[in-house]
């Protein structure tokens, strides 16, 4: 395919994607304005737009956003440090890999969200239980990818470095780390995404504050238009954060 026709086909698929979203919005509008769907179930998109502008202009979202983001930062920091440290230590011994890799992968396949009631019992309704859940869920992809990254470095690289006299530190800094880094980065990205997801989710289930809490609160108050505005806001934040982490991953990979 020539560069030109490739560009044209990319443009064509973009056009289809945009028209799909526009059609959805049109359907939404028609549903509320013409077909008479109850505004309690589905608010008018124009009204949602006004609410969203009000939310942004008034700064009403700040306290909840701050709570959600701080939970995310704390949870992700804990899972990063513990996941990478433990993963590295396990990866140093084939025996430990054989024991712990299937074990951790097994636990990872359990729906960890089920621990939320337990965490609420332990840590209360505040941020601590959200942090605990976010940490638990994001720990596993990080530790598993760290084991995979450090544990399966091609032997020939290690042998070559050893033959040239690499010290233990040099081996880590110049061979193990760069070989493992792309795999670890993928684990970090997945960990970040699931941490955000689980924190927002658990806020909607049992919490005192946060974006998820706000959305449930508005739903219970029947303020559907504002609730939709908040959902849109939370989605935008999530998309932003995930785009940032993906582009960081791509950039680090290219080096």
């Amino acid at each position: 395919m020539s560069a030109r026709s490739e560009q044209r086909s990319r443009f064509a698929s973009r056009a289809v994607q945009v028209s799909f979203v526009v059609a959805l919005l049109a359907l939404w509008y028609l549903g509320t304005a013409v077909w008479g769907v109850s505004h309690l179930l589905l608010p008018n998109p124009v009204k949602v737009w006004h609410e969203l502008r009000d939310v942004l202009a008034s700064g009403d979202f700040w306290p909840d956003l701050k709570i959600t983001l701080s939970e995310l930062v704390v949870a992700f920091s804990i899972s990063c440090t513990s996941g990478i440290t433990l993963g590295y230590l396990i990866s140093r011994s084939p025996y430990l890999i054989k024991v712990f890799e299937p074990l951790l992968a097994g636990i990872y396949s359990v729906p960890i969200i089920l621990f939320l009631p337990l965490y609420v019992l332990f840590f209360g309704l505040g941020p601590a239980s959200k942090i605990a859940l976010g940490t638990t869920i994001s720990f596993f992809p990080i530790v598993l990818n760290t084991i995979a990254g450090f544990g399966y470095v091609d032997r020939i690289f290690i042998t070559a470095a050893r033959s040239m006299g690499a010290s233990d530190f040099q081996m880590f800094r110049y061979v193990l780390l760069p070989a493992a880094w792309p795999v670890i980065l993928t684990g970090l990205r997945i960990g970040f995404t699931v941490a955000l997801l689980s924190i927002l989710g658990s806020e909607t289930i049992a919490s005192l504050a946060g974006l998820g809490h706000k959305i449930v609160h508005l739903a219970e108050a029947m303020e559907t238009a504002r609730m939709f505005a908040y959902i849109a806001f939370a989605v935008a934040i999530a998309v932003c954060l995930n785009t940032i982490t993906s582009s960081l991953e791509r950039r680090a990979r290219r080096q």
Partner: protein
């Protein structure tokens, strides 16, 4: 040459993988002795699994013999000796996350060369192997032959007296192999290095080596050492001479019997497993 001239002494070396009685117990090498002279190019040739790579790794200190000893100069080998010995491996052992010149420099970082010298030495080595225009390329952007040239440059830049090459052209096609062999012969005629070169190819062995050590089937030991009395750098026409043919045929005779033995051994192993 006097006995004191040996760069490497291999004294009655044996090696076993696994313990006696284990299912995977293998006697790779049995009571092998050999002196490698300073400045010579010695080829190790033999059937698969005869222990020639094992011997190479023991000279380089990557593997310890089960019995016997290896000496480099006056020192007994107890581990890698990066100031005396450099390796070129069969597989692509360049670090894919480093450019060609970074790969060469990293070798010197490991060896402990001061920073100021690294750049100049890396450039010199890369120019010597004909990669001056590809210094900032990454290994994935190079052909197999160019990657092995880069690996050779990395080994040359370490400026060791001894170079160990483990089937360095094994994964390349015939033509690339031939050209690299010719270039290697030219390159090495200018240095005083002692080289041990493992190969499967009879032609390569005769073309490159001052002496060829032929291994017997497992448990491997050196069956015969053949001298190739021809100065370096070798003319590409050497391959067409009667002398080359005679030496190649002699190697073929020696090897053929051993290869048969090795194949029947592996057939038995195949039945067991």
């Amino acid at each position: 040459m006097t006995a004191g001239d040996a760069a490497v002494r291999i004294k009655d070396v044996s090696h076993e993988f696994g313990e006696t009685g284990d299912a995977f117990h293998v006697r790779a090498l049995l009571n092998t002795s050999l002196d490698i002279q300073r400045g010579e190019l010695l080829c190790l040739i033999g059937p698969s699994g005869c222990g020639k790579s094992t011997l190479l790794n023991m000279i380089g200190g990557l593997l310890m013999p089960s019995s016997g000893l290896v000496e480099v100069g006056t020192k007994r080998v107890r581990g890698p000796m990066p100031r005396d010995i450099a390796f070129v491996f069969q597989e692509n052992a360049l670090f894919p996350w480093c450019s060609v010149i970074e790969n060469v420099k990293l070798g010197m970082v490991f060896q402990g060369v001061i920073k100021a010298e690294q750049e100049a030495r890396a450039r010199k080595a890369l120019e010597a192997v004909g990669l001056a225009d590809f210094m900032s390329h990454y290994p994935a952007q190079l052909s197999g032959g160019m990657r092995q040239r880069a690996a050779l440059a990395r080994a040359l830049s370490l400026e060791t007296q001894i170079l160990l090459m483990d089937e360095p052209f094994g994964a390349l096609d015939e033509q690339t192999r031939m050209i690299l062999g010719e270039d290697l012969s030219v390159l090495l005629s200018r240095t005083e290095k002692t080289i041990v070169f493992v190969t499967h190819s009879l032609g390569e062995a005769v073309f490159l080596a001052d002496r060829v050590a032929v291994f017997s089937a497992r448990p491997g030991t050196i069956k015969e050492v053949i001298s190739v009395d021809e100065p370096h750098p070798r003319n590409p026409n050497f391959v067409t001479t009667e002398k080359f043919g005679r030496l190649r045929n002699r190697l073929y005779e020696l090897l053929h019997e051993e290869i048969r033995k090795a194949v029947s051994q592996s057939a038995v192993v195949g039945l067991q497993s």
